[in-house]
């Protein structure tokens, strides 16, 4: 049985009459990169705050690194976190801000410069936080989260405000940490990013967990699309009619036929086109992306 870094059981937080999280059940396996996705207001940050002991659950339980969230002092020394964007003292430099947190957590001050180097802020470590760009602030937040050399790293929207190379750097940091055995629990609205790095996913909608499991399991459960493009555009409607008559569910998108069918049906479709005297310029099977799956499951439009 897989060891779990985070495990939630009926975790619930109610504000007034609104449930920010209702009976949340999920696990994050140890050593994995787990994505945490959901529309704004779906309860992601509330859940993260409960896991960090910042807010008390209304009911339910959870464990982090094997310890109950009612005793955060037992696991937080091994947890790094960046919640809802970086929050630091504007009048202190980036280096001084990290030193405050290092002193508070009892970590060696020598780690501060190592981490500034790691997030490419060594040159600006002495500048006041208030002079930093959004991307620099975000990188400082990641450095702060890495201070304890964490067993579990919780990052809330870590790539906000980063340019493409910054995003790539963060992706590299996350992968390196996961390779060294750190569990990474990351929420992001850039679903293509999560699809690239996350083996596990937890999806939330309106305070409810609608999926918790392997990313592959989620994506393979979705119907693939076979994209067929005839050599000549005039053949498009003929082929569409032939396939519809044969019971396929099709749509025409940008001069191609999008056919909802299992991967194995591509041979049948190719044969049917040939028998009708239509040559296909291309035929391919496209699996839905995480973004498409997410929108389908959450019922939100793009």
């Amino acid at each position: 049985m897989e060891k779990t870094a985070i495990s939630a059981s009926d975790l619930t937080k109610i504000y007034g009459e609104r449930a920010a999280l209702s009976h949340g059940n999920f696990v994050v396996p140890e050593g994995s990169i787990c994505g945490f996705v959901g529309p704004n207001g779906s309860g992601k940050t509330t859940t993260i705050r409960m896991l960090l002991g910042l807010i008390a659950p209304t009911s339910g339980t959870a464990t982090v690194l094997g310890e109950s969230i009612s005793h955060p002092e037992k696991y937080l020394p091994h947890v790094g976190a960046m919640i809802e964007g970086p929050a630091f003292y504007p009048a202190l430099s980036g280096r001084e801000n990290l030193k405050v947190l290092a002193e508070l957590g009892g970590f060696p001050l020598s780690r501060v410069d190592q981490l500034l180097e790691k997030v490419d802020l060594a040159d600006r470590g002495g500048s006041k936080f208030k002079t930093y760009s959004l991307g620099m602030k975000q990188r400082l937040g990641i450095a702060a989260a890495l201070l304890p050399n964490p067993k579990l790293l919780i990052l809330d929207e870590p790539t906000n405000g980063l340019d493409p190379s910054g995003i790539q750097e963060v992706r590299g940091i996350i992968k390196d940490l996961a390779d060294s055995g750190t569990t990474v629990f990351v929420s992001s609205h850039i679903l293509s990013e999560l699809e690239m790095i996350c083996e596990y996913l937890i999806m939330l909608r309106e305070g409810r967990v609608i999926f918790s499991g392997r990313t592959q399991e989620l994506l393979s459960g979705q119907k693939p699309i076979i994209v067929a493009k005839p050599e000549y555009d005039v053949d498009l409607t003929n082929l569409a009619k032939k396939l519809t008559d044969s019971g396929f569910n099709i749509s025409i998108v940008d001069g191609s036929l999008h056919i909802e069918a299992a991967q194995e049906a591509s041979a049948t479709i190719n044969r049917m086109a040939f028998e009708t005297g239509i040559t296909l310029a291309s035929i391919s099977v496209v699996l839905p992306t995480l973004e498409e799956t997410f929108f389908e499951m959450t019922g939100d439009s793009k």
């Binding site: 960090l52 910042l54 947890v79 929050a87 003292y89 009048a91 001084e96 405050v100 947190l101 957590g105």
Partner: protein, 263 residues
């Protein structure tokens, strides 16, 4: 908790805050002490509310700490503002969540903050006192004040007692500010409410209904700094101040410990 104190001191010693505070209390200390000696012959008076303090009175042992005592009341207001802003800003900047992730014990955070601000207040009081005494010695000759009584053991005892009383009063004002910071969670609101209450509302209340004065926090904190006066005993002020700070502190601590950190 020592780790919290060290981390908090790093924040408090940032140049904008430390030098700004030192400049403010130094300026106040220099101003009030200088006025006493430089305006010694003025018909408009040279002390609070137009009171005149002559060379004879200043030549006694109390003359050494006269300026320091005068500035003491203002040190309290400075402490109130610093304690309130340093506490409330953790909420307004969102930094409280970082602190609590690195030190989950909220009471340790609170105690560590309080101790570090006490140290800051002590530095502030000692600096203001030292500067006031230096200026007093420097200007005494020009004002015709004999300083021979200022170096006696009586004067030293008075200096020690005054420093202690001013420090206690400063801490009371600061703690009052810290309580407001914890309850209101906004530096501007906490400072505005605290300063308005101490400087304006208490004076209005005291003027309208004289008997309320002895029960108001600001009057009693100030009285501690002055070492008591004939109309309001030191002991009474200790009891009233403690009652305010213990009750207020307990309420603020319970809120701090139990309230969700949702910002």
């Amino acid at each position: 908790m020592i780790r919290v104190v060290i981390a908090e001191l790093r924040k408090l010693r940032r140049p904008t805050l430390l030098l700004g505070t030192i400049a403010t209390v130094g300026g106040l200390s220099a101003l009030f002490t200088s006025i006493i000696f430089l305006m010694i012959d003025s018909e408009d008076g040279n002390s609070r509310r137009g009171e005149s303090i002559g060379p004879e009175e200043l030549s006694q042992a109390t003359g050494l700490v006269y300026g320091f005592r005068l500035v003491g009341a203002f040190l309290g207001i400075v402490a109130l503002c610093i304690f309130a802003s340093q506490t409330a800003q953790e909420y307004s900047l969102g930094t409280l969540r970082n602190l609590l992730v690195r030190q989950p014990s909220r009471m340790k955070i609170l105690a560590g903050k309080f101790i570090s601000m006490k140290i800051f207040a002590l530095v502030m009081v000692l600096f203001a006192g030292a500067l006031s005494i230096l200026i007093s010695f420097a200007l005494a000759g020009r004002a015709g004040v004999d300083t021979s009584a200022w170096t006696t053991s009586d004067a030293m005892e008075l200096l020690f007692k005054s420093t202690l009383n001013i420090f206690i009063a400063t801490l009371c004002f600061g703690t009052f500010g810290m309580i407001l910071g914890l309850l209101l969670r906004s530096p501007i609101s906490a400072i505005a409410v605290g300063v308005l209450w101490i400087l304006i509302l208490e004076n209005i209340l005291g003027a309208l209904i004289k008997s309320t004065g002895k029960w108001l926090p600001g009057f009693n904190f100030s009285n501690l700094g002055e070492g008591g006066n004939p109309s309001l005993s030191y002991r009474h002020s200790v009891a009233v101040s403690l009652a305010y700070l213990i009750i207020g502190g307990a309420i603020a601590a319970v809120f701090f410990k139990r309230r969700d950190v949702a910002n």
